[in-house]
């Protein structure tokens, strides 16, 4: 019952050290899954992906409850969202280059790629505004409208976040901070953009094609 029964180490001091490994020569950063930040980005993408899954779940639950769909509104226009999808898919190419050039620590190419990505984000944002105009339903009209605005709004939020991230990173790359670990950040930003692209594709089908097929 007393401390004695623990075979105490008696000493109030820490164990002495015995060096068995020297990490002096290890690199101070890396790319992809070797870097903690990559795992952080993946985890955030997982949580946000779960958010998307929930929102999509809500949409289909409402379809299931109502039977007829869309509720008292014509299906949304196709032109702008399709344009959006095309631009978004095309943007995957400069994105891939941004990641590659970043890993090769090519500063000028990375700068160019980031500027392109920022512009692409802004163009997409403009198209997105047109997209909202062509929904033919307001969020406060009925549950269908609410679900549509929910999904589109959620994706726009991610678009905005990544655009902000890209712009800040672009600015950084043009300052004296454009070296070393920044290149790793470019890679993570590119990864996040893939998430924005990947999460859009199901939403595009659900919002614009599903009501036509249903």
């Amino acid at each position: 019952m007393t401390k004695a029964s623990f075979q105490p180490q008696d000493s109030e001091e820490l164990l002495p050290h015995r060096i068995v490994l020297n990490v002096r020569s290890m690199p101070s950063y890396a790319y992809g899954h070797r870097s903690p930040i990559w795992w952080g980005t993946v985890a955030f993408a997982a949580a946000e992906g779960m958010g998307f899954a929930m929102a999509i779940g809500v949409y289909f639950y409402l379809v299931f409850i109502n039977g007829n769909w869309p509720l008292s509104a014509p299906p949304p226009d196709l032109f702008w969202p399709s344009l959006f999808t095309v631009v978004l898919l095309v943007s995957a190419w400069p994105n891939a280059r941004a990641k590659r050039d970043g890993e090769q620590e090519n500063l000028s190419a990375t700068r160019r790629n980031l500027v392109i990505m920022s512009l692409a984000g802004i163009v997409l944002l403009v198209i997105r505004i047109m997209e909202f105009n062509g929904l033919h339903v307001r969020w406060d009209q009925n549950a269908y409208g609410s679900a549509v605005w929910l999904l589109l709004g959620l994706h726009t939020l991610h678009l905005l976040t990544d655009l902000g991230d890209t712009v800040v990173l672009t600015v950084l790359m043009f300052t004296r901070h454009g070296h070393g670990k920044r290149f790793s950040d470019v890679g993570d930003n590119a990864f996040y953009w893939y998430f924005v692209v990947a999460s859009w594709l199901p939403i595009y089908l659900i919002l614009y094609w599903f009501p036509r097929w249903w």
């Binding site: 002096r24 690199p27 070797r34 952080g40 946000e48």
Partner: protein, 670 residues
């Protein structure tokens, strides 16, 4: 103090050997060689030793003095300590509200507390216990202990971690401040629509509840991600997957459950806010919405939530059982697998909270089966712990007493849970005091008892002083008796027909005596916590000094000083066994070569735990705090006008840019 390495020890850590001999995995590319060669002027920990090394590292890793310094700190121990104290503070507030409710229910038709206040009280009680205590306390212990246990110097993403603490704190303060201003939510911790919807909950009360969810969700997910990455990437070299302490496993799986469960509740609360504030119709049946959708979303989170509260407790129990049984854990693999199974299964049970909503019977039956099935992984854990104790030499100190209390209470609660899993039985006892009794057995038995054990256990690590053992035993006795006297009779009041969430009942119902007993028990239970508080305060000041490892435990946190220095370890330990301190009794194998002047720590590979990088971790910064302030303004503002999303964003964006903007010469994080 440093000793040369022997070939024998190298065999024990083959991965380390390979690293030490210069093998390097990963991408090869056009990276400049300059990154590999360290700055020759920089002082490294293979150049200094002893007290000088300790002092220099402490200076590098320390928290600055003053208010700004305190708000800028990124030390996981400082943040973790605040997290734990804040969560315990909310536990106390939740307990106070419970005592108020028990006083009201002690007699039939009591006019002590009216229905309006009572509804606010039970909402605050549930919300506080679940969101402001239950989830955060597990994460708080993870923030403090996981980096120590995996043998690193700071949590991954320490600024995110600091940010999450402030968000959590502000969210909790917001809802309690609102309660004091008579804007406390009064719709229950579940806030079912339509009662919490725009038509039946006028004013801001339900908005406060829903927005508090947003706060805790942001905080909860942020910590969960930090913990996951800490466990994945910051483990001490040599800590392979099967050498991870059970506590760390529990926190890891808990963090995964949080990441996948929390988005559901934030979806529910965000949709509720949208319905309430901008007029969407998601939950409005007249316009194509549905009230039950809310329940699906809420319980898709709400059931995993129970395990979010319970999983960290399994970690506490495992740690305490192993240390006090003086034997390594029996069935380590089985314990880890059953933790994982619990995590997965917890997502397949949510409908058992909705058995009385008239869902199709076939679907309901499926959830009966899955709900009963979760008894299996939990059973495995219980049996493995008992087996560990069986073959051990139990030392009956307060932590172990509370764990024994946990067995008695939690198993009873788990078994009454099996009754609730049955659709027909649930139809009788659902939403009665039987359920109240059940989940208090599960949650207090499954979380609070292990928690108190954990506090007695780790208190010397946190403060450097032991807690009073005599008071601890009194505390256990009072808590155990008080708890059972308070909650056992509720099984019977429930079966006698007393529904939950009633502020009073008629004298002719015959529930008076049982309720009076419950109230007396609740008072005793609450009293035991006052004793606990007294013990904490006096022990923290005058308790006997504890050495680094007062319990002679086996895991790495006991290899640091009590309380730990800011750098945790002077050199990063190398792990060759699940219980490193039991395996290395005379000296600790360590890795050297990290900077003494910069905040460097070792990044290792995910499965093999092989040292891979020496990455620097962020310096203290005020920006996470400012970002938390900005996001609080945005969240609170958006309850009053959607335009807050517009004018609230620039300050937040500025704060975030300040956060991520690199300081000259040092590196940062996401």
């Amino acid at each position: 103090m440093t000793k040369a390495i022997t070939p024998h020890e190298l065999d024990a850590v083959p991965e380390v050997t390979r690293l030490a001999t210069g093998e390097r995995g990963g991408v090869s590319g056009a990276r400049s060689e300059a990154d590999y060669s360290p700055d020759p002027k920089e002082l490294r920990d293979d150049q200094v030793d002893g007290p000088e090394l300790t002092a220099r590292l402490a200076k590098t890793w320390g928290t600055q003095k003053g208010l700004i310094g305190a708000l800028s700190t990124v030390d996981h121990k400082v943040i973790g300590r605040r997290y734990i104290i804040t969560a315990l503070f909310f536990l106390f507030l939740g307990g106070l509200s419970a005592v108020a409710m028990r006083l009201q229910l002690a007699r039939p038709e009591s006019s002590l507390i009216g229905p309006d206040l009572y509804n606010q009280l039970f909402t605050m009680h549930g919300t506080t216990m679940m969101f402001l205590f239950g989830v955060p306390i597990g994460e708080a212990f993870a923030v403090y202990l996981v980096p120590l246990m995996v043998g690193t110097r700071n949590i991954a993403f320490p600024r995110l971690n600091a940010f999450s603490y402030y968000v959590y704190l502000f969210g909790g303060l917001m809802i309690w401040l609102a309660f004091m201003l008579n804007i406390g939510p009064d719709v229950g911790w579940f806030a079912y629509v339509p009662l919490s919807g725009p038509e039946f909950s006028p004013g801001k009360r339900a908005d406060i509840w829903a927005q508090m969810i947003t706060f805790t969700e942001v905080a909860g997910i942020s910590v969960a991600i930090s913990v996951i990455v800490t466990v994945f990437k910051l483990r001490a070299p040599g800590m392979t997957l099967d050498r991870i302490p059970l506590f760390v496993w529990a926190e890891l799986i808990n963090s995964f459950v949080i990441i996948f469960a929390m988005p559901a509740v934030v979806t529910a609360s965000a949709l509720l806010l949208m319905d309430r504030l901008v007029g969407t119709h998601i939950f409005n049946p007249a316009e194509g919405g549905d009230a039950l959708l809310y329940q699906h979303l809420f319980w898709f989170f709400g059931h995993p939530e129970v395990y979010i509260i319970f999983l960290p407790a399994t970690g506490w129990v495992s740690a305490i059982v192993v240390t006090f049984a003086r034997r390594q854990a029996f069935g380590y693999i089985a314990l880890v697998l059953s933790l994982i199974a619990t995590g997965f299964l917890s997502f397949g049970l949510w409908v058992h909270h909705m058995f009385t909503t008239g869902l199709p019977q076939l679907g309901a039956s499926f959830f009966t089966a899955s709900s009963m099935l979760i008894a299996i992984p939990n059973g495995i854990q219980i049996f493995c712990w008992i087996a560990t104790l069986w073959d051990g030499r139990p030392v009956f100190r307060t932590p172990l007493l509370f764990v024994i209390g946990f067995f008695f209470i939690f198993v009873a609660g788990g078994l009454s849970g099996i009754m609730l899993a049955s659709v027909p039985l649930d139809a009788q006892v659902h939403d009665t005091f039987f359920v109240v009794a059940h989940f208090h057995y599960v949650l207090i038995g499954g979380n609070v008892f292990p928690l108190i054990g954990a506090i007695y256990y780790w208190f010397p690590k946190f403060t450097g002083r032991m807690m009073n053992e005599r008071l601890g035993k009194w505390h256990f006795g009072l808590a155990f008796i008080g708890f059972n006297v308070a909650f056992f009779p509720m099984h019977i009041t429930g079966l006698m027909g007393m529904p939950r969430r009633v502020y009073t009942y008629l004298p002719e119902m015959g529930w008076g005596n049982l309720n009076m007993i419950s109230t007396i028990g609740a008072a005793v239970f609450f009293g035991s916590f006052l004793l606990f508080l007294y013990n904490i305060v006096t022990s923290a000041r005058r308790g006997p000094l504890a050495g680094p490892n007062p319990w002679n435990a086996g895991t790495l946190e006991w290899a640091s000083a009590s309380p730990p220095m800011p750098q945790n370890f002077d050199r990063i330990p190398i792990v060759t066994n699940r219980e490193p301190l039991w395996a290395h009794r005379d000296s600790l194998p360590v890795a050297a070569g990290l900077s003494v002047e910069n905040r460097e720590q070792i990044v290792s590979t995910v499965t093999a735990g092989r040292a891979d990088l020496r990455e620097s971790t962020p310096e203290p910064s005020i920006w996470p705090f400012l970002s938390a302030v900005a996001i609080t303004i945005l969240f609170v503002g958006s309850m009053f006008t959607p335009w807050a999303l517009v004018w609230g964003t620039p300050p937040l964006a500025l704060a975030l840019i300040g956060w991520f903007w690199p300081k000259a010469g040092t590196e940062d994080e996401r």
